[in-house]
């Protein structure tokens, strides 16, 4: 007879199921990214995934640790990381950021479950610091020759300054911030604008999120809390000074907010565990995004907002533990 501890039954889902489903949820976003930005996006995404997966594989081998590719989490990291990059980014930069994200953001922390920060964002933050200009140079979406022609910036040699064939006027966010021009929310919704590879189509990102929520694989409270906070704060600012601040709809749909709120901030490892904690965490991220976008020096603030909140997450957990049955207050 087997001597086993109770319980002797288990519910279905396991970590690899959950992670695999997140990958499924990202697929429509990935397909749209390639559709909008063509071969360059395909190459960026492929390089991102290969760099992340390869880094995890090699580091496990070197450390003599068991292989962890089977839990699928590094595939998510690779995809998410790739989706946040500008479409024309040089592939060698993509690879460097991916290696850094997984190596430093995940492996050094102790692997899946111990990564205090979202590894995809760690990779992106590294690139932002190392190559600020490349990270804010955007090629336009829906170029006519996007499936036939690979931007020369994409194929730039390592450590060489990339040359750009076509540079977009600006992303909707930078246009708003630095030129005071707005973008039609419908265009943002459908992803007809310029931006990072996978951040442009809000609708598909939401569809992926709804799929995960329906399968009980994502904490919707974080997403709702972020969106509600950003909308409310923007509405207040816009009501007080309509010329100076944008409409809430524009804020919600522009830049990396949707991808961040749905797929990045909800990384369970780096977010709080209690429901109350998740509301607080979302509030914090939403607040930081608005502050950075309105009053910071950058057009975008989602990445830093989430990374900062990642750092605070364990403290939120300590503060809002549920009240134990039968305990006082």
């Amino acid at each position: 007879m087997e001597i086993a501890s109770s319980p002797h039954v288990a519910s279905g889902a396991s970590v690899d199921d959950i992670m695999r489903n997140v990958v499924y949820a990202l697929l429509p976003v990935v397909v749209f990214a390639v559709f909008a930005f063509g071969l360059s996006a395909l190459l960026v995404l492929t390089t991102a995934v290969l760099a992340c997966v390869g880094t995890e594989y090699v580091l496990n081998r070197v450390a003599g640790a068991p292989d962890t590719l089977g839990d699928w989490s590094v595939v998510i990291t690779g995809l998410l990381y790739g989706l946040t990059l500008p479409p024309g980014l040089a592939l060698w930069m993509v690879a460097v950021g991916g290696i850094f994200g997984v190596g430093v953001g995940k492996f050094l922390f102790g692997g899946l479950g111990s990564n205090a920060f979202n590894p995809a964002l760690v990779g992106r933050a590294f690139l932002q610091a190392a190559f600020p200009s490349a990270m804010t140079t955007w090629s336009p979406a829906f170029l006519a020759d996007r499936f036939a022609h690979i931007s020369s910036s994409t194929l730039a040699f390592p450590f060489a300054r990339p040359e750009y064939d076509a540079i977009s006027a600006a992303t909707p966010l930078s246009a708003m911030k630095f030129r005071d021009t707005g973008t039609d929310p419908m265009e943002l919704m459908l992803g007809l604008t310029s931006g990072s590879v996978g951040e442009t189509c809000a609708v598909l990102i939401l569809v992926g999120g709804i799929y995960l929520v329906a399968r009980n694989m994502m904490n919707w409270r974080i997403t709702v809390s972020i969106l509600a906070t950003v909308a409310t704060m923007t509405l207040i600012a816009n009501t007080l000074a309509p010329g100076e601040y944008p409409q809430p709809m524009f804020m919600l749909l522009s830049g990396g907010l949707m991808l961040g709120a749905v797929f990045m901030a909800t990384d369970p490892v780096a977010s709080p565990i209690t429901d109350t904690g998740c509301w607080v965490y979302g509030l914090l991220i939403g607040g930081l995004i608005v502050v950075i976008r309105f009053w910071g020096g950058m057009a975008e603030g989602v990445m830093y907002a989430i990374l900062l909140a990642n750092a605070v997450s364990p403290h939120i957990d300590n503060l809002v533990q549920p009240r134990v049955y039968g305990s006082r207050a």
Partner: protein
């Protein structure tokens, strides 16, 4: 099968908890049947919480079925009765489900005997005092049959400054596979009501609630039909959810009261007894008899003749399984339900008063669980959302992994965990949380003992 009533809006329940597959369909419709006598019955003298009973028989002595073979040793102890007419063959240490060796009386039933049971000195409802009822319950060897095996009479005695406003009769039976309480409610509803009368008299409870989950509509009907006119007793239907049958959780679900940490239900004016225990009180006390058998469910994919059986206490698990046609592929046997039931390492251990079921799994059910990979905690919160006492199993699990046992007890309410298994059941990382928590409790006890 879940019916519309399972999700009945407005039906009381508690927050958190889980919905494991019920698997009750195989046995819920099967009437209670008498189980044959094993060639040797083993009666551990400690099969209840508290002090072991003291044997009053000698090796070689002939005993009649139902005769007292051991008397209670003090207040926290109950009597023991011969499960069959036969001969006492040995009194010696024998293994039990707890893992401990316990002094046990081995009785060999006499095959030629009629196995009739004689009535003893009855405890009559109309003229017995509360004190006499408690003594009668103790002498009948009655303990919580839901699994805890806490001496029932000890529950009924409480300090004078406390009083009972609600008596809860627990017919929830939320563990998968088990259908014993279900059948008892259906077939012995009159005994349940008779038992309630004794309990009300002993405790002066103001009202009584019989709690049943919505997956047993026929039991609800049977009990409702048996309700007395002269006593305030109600049947309350609860939503189906595990672990609603746990006393403290049930009290919260029904009355919205929380038993204080380290306290007892009586602290919030409640006494809670299992429905089968109540039926035994109602059946045994008027006849002056003791418990010598109980109803158990024998089921699981590894058993051919699944059913609800009235089985003599002391029947070895091996005999029980063989009599029911055990599959040769059985890999795991456990006593009670699959969520909390301890696994049996040795098939020679006996059924005791606290055994509500014997379930057998084959390699088909266990392989998936045994072979699955354990991942690191991904902080998914499923365990937190399932814990009925609102602990943070994820954090407790992390501390246990780091062997920070005392911190688990001091800062994270380790001792409020009653090992219901809900967190473990939902964990997608397959972390053996319950096993961790059991070990942690043991280590803390050890550490505190040496300090």
């Amino acid at each position: 099968m879940t019916g519309i009533m399972d999700t009945a809006l407005g039906a009381p329940s508690f927050r958190h908890g889980v919905h494991p597959r019920e698997h009750k369909e195989d046995t819920r419709g099967l009437a209670i049947r008498q189980f044959p006598f094993a060639p040797m019955l083993i009666m551990p003298l400690r099969q209840h919480l508290g002090a072991p009973a003291v044997p009053v028989v000698r090796v070689g002595q002939e005993v009649a079925r139902g005769e007292t073979i051991a008397r209670p040793d003090g207040f926290m102890s109950v009597a023991m009765h011969a499960p069959a007419s036969g001969v006492v063959r040995r009194i010696e240490l024998a293994p039990t489900i707890s893992g401990d060796m316990v002094e046990s009386v081995f009785i060999e039933p006499l095959p030629a005997d009629t196995q009739e049971v004689d009535d003893g000195e009855p405890c009559r409802l109309d003229n017995a005092t509360p004190e006499q009822i408690m003594t009668a319950i103790q002498n009948a060897g009655i303990v919580g049959l839901g699994g805890a095996a806490f001496p029932t009479h000890a529950k009924l005695r409480f300090p004078d400054d406390k009083h009972v406003d609600t008596l809860i009769i627990n017919g929830v039976e939320c563990e998968p596979y088990l259908t014993t309480d279900h059948r008892v409610m259906l077939e012995q509803s009159a005994d349940v009501i008779a038992g309630i009368r004794y309990l009300v008299k002993a405790t002066s409870a103001v009202r009584t609630i019989i709690a049943v989950e919505a997956n047993k509509p026929d039991a609800v009907t049977a009990l409702s039909a048996a309700l007395p006119d002269d006593l305030p007793v109600d049947v309350t239907v609860l939503k189906v959810k595990y672990p609603q049958g746990a006393e403290k959780i049930l009290i919260k679900a029904l009355l919205k009261r929380e038993v204080p940490q380290g306290g007892l239900p009586i602290d919030v004016g409640v006494i809670c007894t299992n429905v089968a225990t109540t039926a035994e009180i109602g059946r045994l006390l008027p006849r002056g008899r003791g418990i010598q058998e109980r109803v158990i469910t024998i089921a699981g994919p590894g058993v051919e003749k699944k059913g609800n059986y009235l089985i003599p206490i002391g029947t070895p698990v091996r005999f029980a399984l063989e009599a029911c046609g055990a599959d040769p592929d059985i890999t795991r046997v456990f006593m009670g339900g699959p969520m909390m039931g301890p696994a049996v390492s040795n098939l020679d251990i006996p059924v005791t008063k606290g055994t509500s079921g014997i379930l057998a799994f084959t390699v088909h059910e266990t392989a998936a669980i045994v072979e699955r990979k354990v991942y690191a905690c991904i902080h998914c919160a499923r365990c937190v959302e399932s814990c009925p006492v609102f602990l943070n199993p994820s954090h407790l699990g992390l501390l246990a992994k780091n062997e920070q046992y005392e911190q688990m007890a001091d800062d994270h309410s380790l001792y409020d965990c009653f090992e219901c298994g809900a967190c473990n059941y939902v964990c997608p990382s397959h972390i053996p949380l319950v096993q961790y928590f059991r070990l942690a409790k043991k280590m803390v006890r050890k550490l505190r003992a040496t300090h």
